[in-house]
Structure formats: structure tokens, C-alpha cells
């Protein structure tokens, strides 16, 4: 029984699994720089032509703006609702609390397809056409549970005494929240905002149901382009998306760390 060698096997297996997770995405980024006009192997040199073509493709630029606006609005609304609800759940005791906690988490327990159909039917019953606000409401409802879970976890760790001290010194509830509680939970709020933004920015399952005709987000645009065949343009768009959805949270983590460090 050589422990060292079995540990090496475990490590080797782990490396392989990580490769499995990342290699295909690395290939997308690699092929985005392919000079070959069919966007496949073998590579025929490095070029930026597909990124330039993206920039000149109106449909893609429009989809990009839609996704950014949608993601940003979703994040702000979701975070606001989520923080308020978390405060109520952690700081107060009231009847039916566990039922309400479950209700707020429910949107991630319901399959997204069913959620999408439900919201769409309700809208149809109200005789309202599909629209951007519907898309926004849909994104808010399925990002909300993530914000609640993240902020709640942090809020539980913030000691009640800090708030009581502020209150006893004459601050009102709103002041206490703004000056004491909010700064203390800011890293979690920030994480919630980032989470909501990336989930919204990436979503395709619900978006395909809710989007009005003619409106595309980046993922639905990619989905539509895939219908023809895989082109180097898709790989380039994929590469841009990977950079955005990875860079935004990484930047977020760095900022949240700095915030957390400043609090110590």
C-alpha cells in the first residue's frame, strides 16, 4: 500500500477532469484566431479578422447591447429585492418564516422551462405581447434566489451588536442599515450582483421563450447562428463572451476581497 502513488493517481485523474472541463473552451478561443475561412482545423495562421467582422455585424452588436442592458438591470433589481428580503429573513422573527424562505428559493427548484412557460401563459392571459420588460422580469425571478442565498449567508455572520450599538447611539433604522449593515454585507451584495449579471448574460433556456420577435441576446444570437453551421464568427463571439463572463466575476472577486480587507 503505497500512499504516495495512490495520491499521484488521484492527482493525475483530477488533472484529466480539469482538462475535460476546459479544453473544449480553449479550442473555441484558439479557433477564434483561425485565419482559415471555414473556422476548422487545421489552423492556417493567426488573424483577428473574425473579431473585426463581429464588430461590423450589426445584429451581433445589437444583441450585445441588449444582453448588457438586460444583465445590468437584472442585477440591480435582483440585488435590491434580495437584500431587502434577506434583511427581513435574518433580522426578524415572524410567522411562516420557513415557508417564505422556501418560496424565495422556489424559482431555482422549478425547472426553468416550466417557469418560462408559466410566465408566458400569464402574459398571454393578460393579453400583453412579449416584450423587453417581460424578459427582464423573467431574469429577475430566476436570479433572485441566488442573491437571497448569498446575502443571507453573509448577514447571518454579521453580529447584531454592531447594529444595536448604532441604534442605541440614536441612529434610525435606515441610517443603521446604510452606515453599518450595508458596508458589512457589501462583499456579498457585490457577489450577488455579479452572480445575477452573469446568469442573466448567459441565459438561453428562458430567454428563447420570452424574447420578443427580432430581439436577440448574445446567447440566442449564437443559438440562431448555430442553426446554419459552426462558423469562425461564432467562435470569435464565444471567445468575447468567455472573456466578459470570466473577467467580470474575477474583477468582482478582486474588488470584494479588497472591500472585505478594508473592513477588517
Amino acid at each position: 500500500m503505497n500512499i504516495f502513488s495512490s495520491w499521484s493517481l488521484i492527482r493525475a485523474f483530477t488533472v484529466l477532469v480539469y482538462l475535460f472541463m476546459f479544453l473544449p473552451v480553449a479550442v473555441v478561443i484558439l479557433l477564434a484566431f483561425n485565419a482559415n475561412q471555414f473556422g476548422s482545423f487545421p489552423m492556417e495562421g493567426v488573424s483577428f479578422r473574425w473579431f473585426i467582422e463581429l464588430w461590423h455585424n450589426d445584429a451581433i452588436v445589437r444583441a450585445f447591447k441588449t444582453s448588457m442592458l438586460l444583465g445590468a438591470l437584472t442585477a440591480v433589481i435582483s440585488a435590491t429585492l434580495g437584500v431587502l428580503a434577506s434583511l427581513a429573513l435574518v433580522r426578524y422573527d415572524f410567522r411562516a418564516k420557513s415557508l417564505i424562505t422556501t418560496a424565495l428559493i422556489a424559482p431555482i427548484l422549478v425547472p426553468e422551462v416550466v417557469l418560462a412557460v408559466a410566465l408566458l401563459l400569464f402574459l398571454r392571459w393578460l393579453e400583453m405581447p412579449k416584450s423587453f420588460p417581460l424578459l427582464l422580469l423573467g431574469h429577475v425571478i430566476f436570479t433572485l434566489p441566488f442573491v437571497v442565498l448569498i446575502v443571507q449567508a453573509r448577514l447571518v455572520a454579521v453580529r447584531r451588536e454592531f447594529e444595536e450599538a448604532a441604534l442605541s447611539l440614536g441612529a434610525n433604522a435606515f441610517h443603521t442599515f446604510r452606515e453599518v449593515t450595508l458596508p458589512l454585507i457589501m462583499p456579498a451584495v457585490f457577489a450577488g450582483i455579479i452572480f445575477a449579471f452573469t446568469i442573466s448574460f448567459d441565459d438561453v433556456t428562458g430567454t428563447l421563450f420570452w424574447k420578443p420577435g427580432g430581439v436577440e441576446t448574445v446567447p440566442t444570437q449564437i443559438f440562431a447562428m448555430l442553426r446554419n453551421s459552426i462558423s469562425p464568427e461564432i467562435n470569435a463571439l464565444g471567445a468575447v463572451m468567455v472573456v466578459i463572463t470570466v473577467a467580470v466575476p474575477l474583477l468582482g472577486v478582486a474588488i470584494a476581497r479588497r472591500m472585505a480587507a478594508a473592513l477588517r
Binding site: I3, I10, R11, F13, T14, V17, Y18, M21, F22, P24, V25, V27, V28, F38, S40, F41, P42, T80, L81, G82, L84, A85, A88, V90, Y92, D93, K97, A103, L104, I105, A106, P111, V113, V114, V117, A118, L121, F122, G138, V140, I141, L144, F146, I150, A153, R160, E164, D202, T205, L208, F209, P219, I222, L226, I230, I234, M241, V242, P249, V253
Partner: protein
């Protein structure tokens, strides 16, 4: 739940005020619409493309008796089940490795594990076309080595749908198992070793049973997420690999048959809901929330 706030005696309306926006959103955008699915499923689609309001059992009769829907339901459960099993087989060892590695490595490995969550699902799914497609990396390589003379048709079947799902679901599995193993007191394994157990025995008798909650939570997430997808079969599957959510998409978006789509959505909701209920009976919902902390 047990945290009793200072003003618990008389919380007044404040918690309800704080909660009302989120609660209104959940009620208006989830609870009420879900009731509408039920109501719509009893309506009837007319030849003109509208709906006839009433109480008709036609959609339910069609959905519950037609073998086509039953076959697709079983196919969906099979694909999601197999994907979950593959996720366990691929995910347990890395999760163990992360939990037992040194602090410095651990942070990097976890950060890497979070990356796939941020990389778009659709891009991760379509990336396999670059690898397995007719002019993908694998075929180009095999042609170049001379092992094959014609490109292999390896895409667009059930295996590639499962591959795509595993690729999407694996991080959820690893993360959940990791959280569970990381919470195990290492003294327990040491105690087992000092009492004469071998490394394998220690794992089988101590670590594995104690990591079951994470394994169960990860499996639940993978199964439910996998069984509810329609994008992966559309991108990586062939015409025969449709899953249940594809039927819903087809009915609602393509055929505009809202009553039928409603009945199909409800079937999916009830089947997956039953899985969640069985799980919560045995494990409790709290385990799922742990990976957020």
C-alpha cells in the same frame, strides 16, 4: 431559523415591508403563473389557432396515453440519470483531491472550478462541435494519422447529448461533494488509520459514508438540471434524441399549442418535483444551500 432577533416580541410590519417586493415578485411571476399552467392545460386549442376556454380532458388524455410522450419521458430520465452517474464517477475523485490538498492549491482549484459556471452554457455546449464535428479536432487528427480515411460521424446521438450534459453538470457535482468532504473532521480518518484500517478501508468506512449528503445534493442538482434541458439535445443531439423539454418548446414556440404545452410542462414539473420531494424527505433542503457559503 433559530436566530431570534432583538425585537422578536413585536416585529411589527417592518419585516413584511422589507420582504414585500421580493415576495410580490415570486407570487406574481411564479406562483400565479404556475396556477395558470394548470388552468390552461384543461383548455382546448381550436382549429383557428385560438383557445377554447373550458374543462376539457383532451390534452391530458393525449399526453398520458400516447406512447410517444411516455417514450420521450423515459428517454429524458435515462439521459439525465446516465449523465448524473457519469458526473459522480468523474467528479468524486477531484472533489476528494481538492478537499485534501494544501490550502494554497485548494484556493486555486476552487477558483478554477467556479470558472465553468461563468462560461456560457451555450458556448461550452457548442464547443464540442469543434472537437467532434466532421471537420473537428478529433477527425482532423485521425485523418492526419491515417487511422481513418473518411471523417467519423460521432456527433448528434445520445452519447454526445450525455457528453454535453456531463460537461455542463460536472462542476455542480464536484462542488457539492467537495463541500461535504471538506466538512469531515480529518481526525476521524486518522483515528480509523491508527486503529489499523487500510487507506481503502478508511475511505470506504469513514469518508465515503460521511460524504453522502454532498453526493446526494450534487446528484439531485445534476439530475433535475439535466432532465429539464432542451438546449443540449438541440445542439448536440440528432432528431431521435429529443428530451421532454424539447416537446414543451416545440408545442409552445413552434406549434403555438398552448394548452398541450401546458399539460406537457406540468408533467415535467410533477416528475421532477417528485424527485425533489423524495430527496428533501431524506436529506433536507439545507444541504443544497451549503455550497453557497
Amino acid at each position: 431559523m433559530a436566530a431570534v432577533a432583538a425585537d422578536a416580541d413585536a416585529p411589527g410590519p417592518r419585516p413584511w415591508l422589507l420582504m414585500s417586493p421580493a415576495l410580490t415578485a415570486v407570487v406574481l411571476l411564479l406562483a400565479v403563473p404556475l396556477c395558470f399552467i394548470l388552468v390552461y392545460s384543461f383548455w382546448l386549442r381550436t382549429a383557428a389557432g385560438g383557445e377554447q376556454v373550458g374543462f376539457f380532458l383532451d390534452n391530458w388524455a393525449e399526453v398520458l396515453s400516447d406512447e410517444f410522450y411516455r417514450d420521450i419521458l423515459f428517454q429524458t430520465l435515462r439521459i439525465a440519470g446516465l449523465s448524473t452517474v457519469v458526473c459522480i464517477l468523474l467528479g468524486y475523485i477531484p472533489a476528494y483531491f481538492i478537499a485534501r490538498s494544501t490550502t494554497r492549491h485548494k484556493a486555486a482549484l476552487i477558483l478554477l472550478l467556479m470558472l465553468p459556471f461563468w462560461i456560457s452554457y451555450i458556448i461550452r455546449t457548442m464547443s464540442w462541435i469543434n472537437i467532434l464535428g466532421v471537420s473537428g479536432a478529433l477527425n482532423v487528427f485521425l485523418l492526419w494519422t491515417g487511422i481513418i480515411s473518411e471523417p467519423l460521424q460521432i456527433l448528434y446521438n445520445e452519447a454526445t447529448v450525455i457528453l454535453g450534459l456531463v460537461h455542463f453538470l460536472l462542476p455542480f457535482m464536484i462542488l457539492n461533494i467537495y463541500v461535504s468532504i471538506d466538512g469531515i473532521d480529518t481526525n476521524l480518518a486518522d483515528a480509523a488509520r491508527s486503529l489499523g484500517a487500510t487507506g481503502w478501508q478508511t475511505f470506504r468506512e469513514v469518508t465515503l459514508p460521511l460524504s453522502m449528503p454532498g453526493l446526494a445534493a450534487g446528484s439531485l442538482l445534476c439530475f433535475v438540471l439535466g432532465a429539464g434541458t432542451y438546449i443540449t439535445p438541440m445542439i448536440l443531439g440528432g432528431p431521435r434524441n429529443a428530451m421532454f423539454a424539447n416537446l414543451v418548446f416545440e408545442a409552445i414556440i413552434t406549434q403555438l399549442n398552448w394548452p398541450l404545452g401546458s399539460a406537457l410542462s406540468l408533467v415535467l414539473l410533477v416528475v421532477l418535483g417528485a424527485v425533489v420531494v423524495v430527496y428533501t424527505r431524506y436529506a433536507g433542503i439545507g444541504q443544497l444551500a451549503k455550497s453557497f457559503k
